[in-house]
């Protein structure tokens, strides 16, 4: 594979500030997102959700809805030809409920009508008789033997453990032990584009689905099994995605199954677009965690033991809970050497909105707990938080909690040093503790750090493909089985192909993913796309180049090894041809200009019995620093400055990389200060952005980004991962800064005004905001 260009070891396009390949479509408004696709003669789909979080369905009467003019289908579970439910790990998520409903986002019936208004009207005419069941809303209580059952086989959704050393010995070796409980809240992905899909009956008796899909292949499996169709008759095409952050997987499987069912029943295209309220009600969220940490440390500040028990709320369905909690169990001790570890994590079914993948995937929760804890330990020992961490961080050759020896370069200390020296941490941290008591505004500074396994790890099959098709005019079409959901995959993959083939990136058109074009490349999750697809793009480019290089050598009358591919030319000494000339000549000679690159990840291992193994093939490291101002009269926290340092292995596109960090910090700031998806007895307490508060442009601090390039031997050009690390440690840095400012520790997220001011959250009234307005109407 190409390592250098004629200028030496510098890259042509990799690492530069490249504009996104899809930016022009997006700034002009011509990019087509899920809801922007329409067909002549299309029908509009609508869903009847359950009003109860837990109830037996006694009867469903659709007669009045069917009798309405302009209604083309009213369907219930009885109309599903194949499997009634789906799910990648536990296939129990109901497309349309039959026996009982398990959360208020469950669907009972669907309608297809000539207009959206008629569809809504029909929904109102469907009569369902329910017999309400006791609601399970607390995950801890859900696990007690006396709890009502959400699923027949018990409320335990997942349990993972890690055992290292002997926990009792660890506590014996400790000079003191502290024990605290930390809790994190349920949050919504809040992609600005709500879920949207268009399902069309296909000529081959199948169905074509175009929509806001993050994981095409899992959605295709769900639709195929629900409709009883072979995989080749279900075509899923990704529309340009308006954000996902892990959120458009099972939520999209559900809506795609329903739309496809309506399309095949009516023989017409069916469009379904969620309102924000529907999206909030139905779509899964990030797991709230309750985490109990008991930690032993010796007088010199060295960690001796960690005993961790975590309870996660899985909500009504499993979705990816087993995998989310697995990542938590692997990383639960934070990026520290701990000789004796005992970790147990449980996920429990409840009648709350189900939870699943969201940027971080089980890490933002444990990062908040561990990083708060390290500051609390430092305070006990009279050390500053930086020093406390340095004494315990993972270093080259360290053994992780799961017994994995780190054989790559471990850059955690470097990341910590970078943020603390750029932010003047120690001096400010000390000064903030001696602030003038007259002023209500207190300054605070805080740090956090993490390590994170790259890609899926021992979760399962981990491979991806990229297709490259060179055209006879020297342009190229590139596509991939992984998607661009806004993170910039299209650009990154295009840049790799451009680098390898010596193409200008503006000669590449990147196509959105399509299940009929590329083989199953797994899900676009786990910050795996740059690594997996980047490597696949290199493989594919090399296959193609090896095929066309002999023709170029022939045309230039030189050895293939003397050829240089750069800036759309192929040169050998002083003579050169254009890539277009070469491509045209290859075509004339009958040589294929299309190649398919496939990359499979290196091996990982895992023993579920004791939680040991090489869980991930490599890790990334990062550190964050936050400065805040806290108004101690109101509890208001303003983040004034942020520094984020990440070892990404190698920056592939500096624009894209910085964007990931800025966005990750913003999302982490929302998690720290603003966001909470509130439910009471399984009923959502909010439904839109009037109450679910996201950071706005006015809330953002000045943010400094520092990249470390640790040059991983496995990654494309040494690149590793960034999307999730950029997000996972922002909240604890802010929480630690707030504690530095106020001298008081808040162990619950988000740090609302009340929590900061009073140390507890106030319980809001039953109906407020949009719910109250709705109540007033009726």
């Amino acid at each position: 594979m190409a390592k250098e260009n004629p200028q030496g070891n510098k890259f042509n396009v990799i690492g530069k500030a490249s504009p996104r390949v899809d930016a022009i479509d997006k700034v002009t408004g011509r990019a087509r997102y899920g809801a922007d696709h329409s067909r002549t003669g299309q029908l509009y789909g609508a869903v009847l959700n359950s009003p109860y979080p837990h109830a037996i369905i006694k009867s469903i009467n659709t007669e009045r809805a069917r009798a309405l003019d302009g209604i083309r289908a009213v369907l219930t579970h009885a109309d599903i030809p194949g499997a009634k439910s789906f799910g990648g790990i536990v296939p129990h998520q109901m497309v349309l409920c039959s026996g009982k409903v398990r959360y208020v986002g469950d669907a009972v019936a669907i309608v297809a009508a000539e207009t959206p208004e008629l569809a809504d009207k029909a929904i109102e005419l469907i009569e369902v008789e329910y017999s309400p069941c006791p609601v399970v809303s607390d995950p801890e209580q859900a696990l007690s033997p006396s709890s009502p059952l959400v699923h027949e086989d018990g409320n335990l959704c997942a349990h993972h453990k890690v055992r290292k050393g002997d926990i009792e010995t660890g506590f014996k070796n400790s000079d003191f032990v502290i024990e605290h409980e930390y809790t994190t809240q349920k949050v919504e992905h809040a992609y600005i584009e709500p879920e949207a899909v268009l399902a069309e009956p296909g000529e081959n008796g199948g169905v074509t689905i175009t929509g806001s899909v993050q994981n095409l292949y899992s959605i295709r499996r769900a639709v195929a099994s629900v409709l009883n169709l072979p995989l080749n008759r279900v075509r899923v095409i990704q529309a340009t995605l308006g954000g996902s952050f892990g959120g458009k997987d099972e939520a999209m499987s559900a809506i795609c199954c329903r739309a496809a069912l309506l399309a095949l029943t009516t023989g017409r295209p069916v469009k379904m677009v969620n309102t924000r309220e529907q999206s909030m009600r139905e779509s899964y969220k990030r797991h709230p965690y309750k985490m109990r940490y008991k930690v032993g440390v010796s007088n010199d500040g060295i960690l001796q033991a960690m005993e961790i028990k975590i309870i996660a709320d899985a909500g009504a369905y499993a979705a990816t809970s087993q995998f989310v909690t697995w990542r938590s169990v692997v990383q639960a001790t934070g990026p520290y050497v701990v000789p004796h570890v005992k970790t147990d994590i449980y996920a429990a079914y409840t009648n709350n909105c189900y939870t699943g993948a969201m940027r971080g995937f089980g890490s933002p929760q444990i990062c908040f707990a561990v990083e708060s804890l390290m500051d609390e330990l430092a305070a006990q020992l009279g050390l500053d938080p930086f020093e406390m961490r340095l004494r315990n961080t993972l270093k080259d050759g360290s053994i992780t909690a799961t017994g994995q020896k780190l054989t790559h370069r471990v850059t955690l200390d470097e990341a910590l040093r970078n943020v603390t020296s750029a932010g003047g941490f120690k001096a400010k941290w000390l000064a903030n503790r001696e602030q003038d008591s007259a002023s209500p505004i207190k300054k605070g500074i805080g740090i956090s750090c993490s390590y994170r396994g790259v890609s899926l790890g021992a979760e399962g099959a981990d491979a991806a493909g990229v297709g490259i098709s060179l055209q006879t005019d020297g342009s190229a079409v590139v596509t991939c089985g992984l998607v661009d959901m806004g993170q910039g995959a299209a650009t990154t993959i295009s840049l790799v192909v451009a680098e390898e083939l010596g193409l200008s990136s503006d000669k590449i058109v990147f196509l959105n993913a399509d299940t009929t074009v590329m083989p199953d490349s797994g899900p676009t999750v786990a910050s795996r796309t740059s690594f997996m697809a980047g490597n696949a793009a290199r493989v594919g480019s090399t296959i193609l180049k090896d095929r066309i290089a002999p023709v170029a050598a022939d045309m230039l009358k030189c050895k293939a090894s003397a050829l240089v591919f750069c800036h759309d030319f192929i040169s050998a000494g002083s003579s050169r041809i254009t890539l277009a000339q070469l491509a045209a000549e290859c075509f004339r000679r009958g040589i294929s200009l299309s190649a398919h690159g496939w990359y499979k990840s290196p091996k990982t291992t895992w023993r579920e019995e004791d939680g040991t193994g090489d869980a991930y093939f490599t890790f990334v490291y990062g550190a964050n620093l936050a400065e805040v101002e806290v108004d101690i009269h109101t509890g208001r926290v303003i983040v004034t400055k942020f520094i984020s340092c990440h070892d990404v292995g190698k920056v592939l596109n500096i624009n894209g990389a910085k964007g990931q960090v800025y966005g990750g910090v913003a999302m982490g700031m929302g998690y720290a200060l603003l966001e909470a998806y509130a439910e009471e007895d399984g009923q959502p307490k909010l439904g839109n952005f009037d109450e679910y508060l996201l950071p706005t442009i006015c809330d953002m601090p000045q943010t400094e980004v520092i990249f470390l390039e640790g040059d991983d031997p496995l990654g494309p050009y040494g690149a590793k991962a960034l999307g999730e690390p950029a997000n996972e440690i922002a909240a604890p840095a802010i929480a630690n800064a707030v504690a530095n400012a106020t001298g008081r520790r808040v162990r619950e997220l988000p740090l609302t005004l009340e929590r900061v001011l009073l140390g507890k959250n106030l319980i809001p009234g039953r109906e407020r905001g949009s719910a109250m307005a709705k109540g007033a109407e009726s």
Binding site: V27, T28, A35, I192, Q487, G659, Y662, N688, M700, S770
Partner: protein, 157 residues
């Protein structure tokens, strides 16, 4: 009800039902799908269009309210050379990620730069405070708008 208004520089005469939202008229009937819907209640700003040069949420307006007025959507902004600097700056700086908020952001920025040629960072923030973005953390958006303003200023010199 027959209504006459100006849309992206051209006069249009349309028969409107009384209760159609402006966003639905634009997206569903006129195929101007560059205007996005994110929340349907004026919280996210993805549906921002210009009404007589001022940014408004098209999800909060009835189509019939635009009688006699001028509407410019992202398609109109993109086709108008006066705004080319804004589009270019969004592209170059990396202010676009998923892009769903971009049309609304750009329309709001266009309104700002039309009335304020040298906006400070704070003025940019105030002008875009009604446009939510979940991807970018806003940094590059501020950079894009101030870069566009600089270019416009340079050209006028």
């Amino acid at each position: 009800m027959k209504v006459r208004f100006k849309l992206n520089g051209k006069f249009v005469m349309l028969d409107l039902p009384g209760v159609e939202r402006l966003i639905d008229l634009l997206r569903e009937r006129l195929d101007l799908v560059g205007t996005k819907e994110g929340c349907g209640k004026g919280e996210c700003g993805a549906c921002t269009v210009l009404l007589d040069g001022k940014p408004v949420c098209s999800c909060l307006m009835l189509a019939s309210q635009i009688a006699g007025h001028e509407i410019v959507t992202i398609e109109g902004v993109a086709a108008d050379n006066r705004y080319a600097h804004i589009l270019n700056a969004f592209e170059e700086t990396g202010a676009v990620q998923c892009g769903y908020c971009s049309p609304g952001m750009i329309v709001s920025a266009a309104a700002l730069l039309a009335r304020n040629r040298h906006p400070s960072d704070n003025e940019i923030k105030r002008a875009l405070a009604g446009n939510l973005c979940r991807c970018t953390g806003y940094s590059k958006i501020i950079e894009a708008v101030s870069r566009a303003a600089e270019r416009v200023a340079q050209e006028r010199k």
